[in-house]
Amino acid sequence: MTPDDQQLLSAYLDGELSADKLSEVQNRLLIEPELQHHLNKLKKNDTAIKNTFDEITKDPVPESIQALLRPESRKVSSASSSKIGRILQNNHAFRYWPSAIAASFIVVINIFISQHYGNSDSLLEIDAAQPSEQLAHILSKNPSGSIITIDEHKVHTELSFLRADDTFCRQYAVYNSDAGLRAVSCYEKSTWINKVVSKANLKNSGTDTYQPASAEESKIIDDYIEANMQGVPLTQAEEKAELQDR
């Protein structure tokens, strides 16, 4: 079987031959048993390949994918560890850091981040902030989808990704019954550094659910991830490997 004949039979199987070539192959198949035998073999192999890869369609669709395709998953975040849900939530839920900071928001900041700041004005210099030691520990140890309760506050590790320079970064949220924030922190030189922080209308409702706010709030987080993320968020296995290094 010459390479030309193999290509001819392959194109014949795919219905891609011109009328002239089709006629030529059909005539040859009638008088060349070897050609016919090879064609049958290719057909059989194609069937085996299709059947093999069709097997996955008999398995249930993973919940993480189903959740993504449910309209409600884009309206209210759940405690699901669905990376996709978290991304969508991120896309639609948050607003730019406001110049006027609500008093209740400052309470949250003070507990989790403000130990690095002397007063509320310096909160606006959020790009230089480090998460508290407690929060850094959570970011280093807990997979995405975890919700860790500390007193009346909850910390939600939302997703992980690698920045273009291979730095490990995480998106997380902190909230209590009054207010919340969302941030992206990256592990630079053995230290977690907050790259962006946004006020977020997250509320601890007593369950592990919270309500996203408007799309505007997401932009600062969205923009950072969009501009810096390498490819797509890490899979659970990739994230686990990164967390083992922390």
């Binding site: 390479p3 193999q6 290509q7 039979l9 392959s10 194109a11 199987l13 795919d14 891609e16 090879h38 073999k41 290719l42 192999n45 194609d46 085996a48 390949i49 299709k50 059947n51 093999t52 890869f53 069709d54 097997e55 996955i56 369609t57 398995d59 669709v61 993973p62 993480s64 994918i65 993504l68 395709l69 309209p71 884009r74 990376k83 996709i84 991304i87 969508l88 896309n91 690698l162 390498q230 490819g231 797509v232 968020p233 899979t235």
Partner: protein, 161 residues
């Protein structure tokens, strides 16, 4: 640009096709579903342009995500043995022979050069025309024809062994 609910509907309608295509690229079901999940994230984030055919567009994005993935891992994915089936003592001999063949197919396809595998998946598994596959892979139609034929030839030799 298609509305979000339209994109969701398109993904839902083509989910079997997307999972099958992803499986043919990864040769691993868990990796395939991870890939489809990432694909869905991307499509819901960026949308599907109104002036493109949705299926080739989605397959193109899926292919690009997979190439990004294998580049970042810098390793070729290898098929995993279906442990559940291997551990299942209840299946009969006919089923066993089917699954041995399936693993052989998985291994053989996984060993194909990446560009041959992509061409074969698009044409022989997903049923795209050479022109459509050429659009997805951004190569000439003749290249698709050659890659598909070479992939089939390689697999035929593998299956004869």
């Amino acid at each position: 640009m298609a509305e979000m609910n339209q994109v969701t509907a398109i993904i839902q309608n083509e989910l079997s096709r997307l999972r099958r295509f992803a499986y043919s690229l990864t040769s691993n079901k868990a990796d395939a579903d991870d890939l489809v999940q990432n694909l869905a994230v991307k499509l819901l984030k960026t949308g599907i342009p109104a002036d493109v055919k949705p299926i080739p567009w989605m397959l193109t994005i899926c292919k690009n995500l997979w190439i990004d993935e294998i580049r970042s891992r810098e390793v070729r994915m290898r098929p995993s043995i279906n442990k559940k089936l291997a551990d299942d003592e209840a299946y009969d001999s006919n089923d066993q022979s089917i699954h041995v063949d399936a693993n052989r197919v998985l291994n053989a396809v996984a060993d194909l050069p990446e560009n041959h595998k992509l061409a074969l998946s698009l044409v022989a598994i997903e049923g795209l025309s050479y022109a459509e596959a050429a659009d997805v892979l951004e190569v000439p139609i003749g290249t698709i024809m050659s890659r598909v034929a070479r992939a089939r030839s390689t697999l035929a030799k593998q299956f004869e062994m």
